[in-house]
Subunit: 141 residues, 2 copies
DNA sequence: TGCACTGTAACTATTTTGATTACAGTACAA
DNA sequence: TTGTACTGTAATCAAAATAGTTACAGTGCA
């Protein structure tokens, strides 16, 4: 039961953009801080830009937040870097037996619980903003 | 962002054990209903047994619930089939730069939000029991 | 005009997951 | 008491997902 690291890395990037005011936040600088390859960062930048969280300009180094950190929730970031925006948190097994009463109905029977669980998770992320994370880091500088 | 199918499959198995009273619920029968290999089922049976959710006897076909379906929550099942029982829902990137103030502190800054999100998810699963799922299926037989 | 970036596509390596093979151990019925 | 039908588990294989990398086109600016 594992979720990929795109979400934490995205928050890391945004926190850096918010806190680092002295130099342009380039993909190379962020890659250095995260400990990965600049292209990985640029791919995430692309997702964050599409979601309206950051603004970049082709050819111009660095990027900046598209709105104040206090108005960016962790849920927005989480959803922004999902591969497919509607991908459910839980997967079903691919081929339950349609000739078995349980196999035929298990999916529908579990839909509500799984949807509720995912919603509860996202609602919790909604209560935290990028500013909360950035402030926490700033206190430990 | 995807979670493996072990959890839904485990619920499928337990629902079958609960609803199928006419023949022993063997790994082969369950594999047929789930649409997978009997060994996959037996591996999950092993986890469910260790968690005290089912009882089996080596050499004796089938298995039965260790306690009433109404007393088995989806959270218990979810935790039972986790590879590592303490595995967090969200992963961190492996090597943030310790020389960067953000890289050094991002992990701690995100700990509370991620833990809260995971807890919220699990608490929601706690509100559903195996009986809820089985009843739902039984209504559609 | 050259440099420093962003933006993407394509490819590779690694890890995770599920499926499969194989086989030892047990219970029970013929 | 022996054969059969299971459970239990290790080991291996295949497929899928993920992260990392190379390569290169496009843009802005000094």
């Amino acid at each position: 039961m594992r979720i990929n690291t795109r979400f934490p890395v995205a928050v890391h990037m945004l926190a850096l953009i918010e806190l680092n005011k002295t130099q342009p936040s380039t993909s190379e600088l962020m890659a250095l801080s995260v400990g990965t390859n600049p292209v990985v960062i640029r791919q995430l930048m692309s997702s964050l830009k599409r979601a309206g969280l950051i603004e970049t300009q082709n050819g111009v180094p660095g990027c900046h937040l598209a709105k104040p950190a206090a108005e960016i929730t962790l849920r927005e970031i989480y959803l922004a870097v999902q591969k497919k925006s509607d991908a459910p948190l839980f997967d079903f097994h691919a081929n339950p037996n349609p000739n078995c009463p349980i196999g035929r109905n298990i999916r529908e029977a579990m839909e509500a619980p799984l949807r509720d669980a995912q919603t509860a998770m996202e609602q919790t992320l909604e209560t935290y903003t990028l500013k909360d994370v950035a402030d926490h880091i700033a206190r430990h500088l």
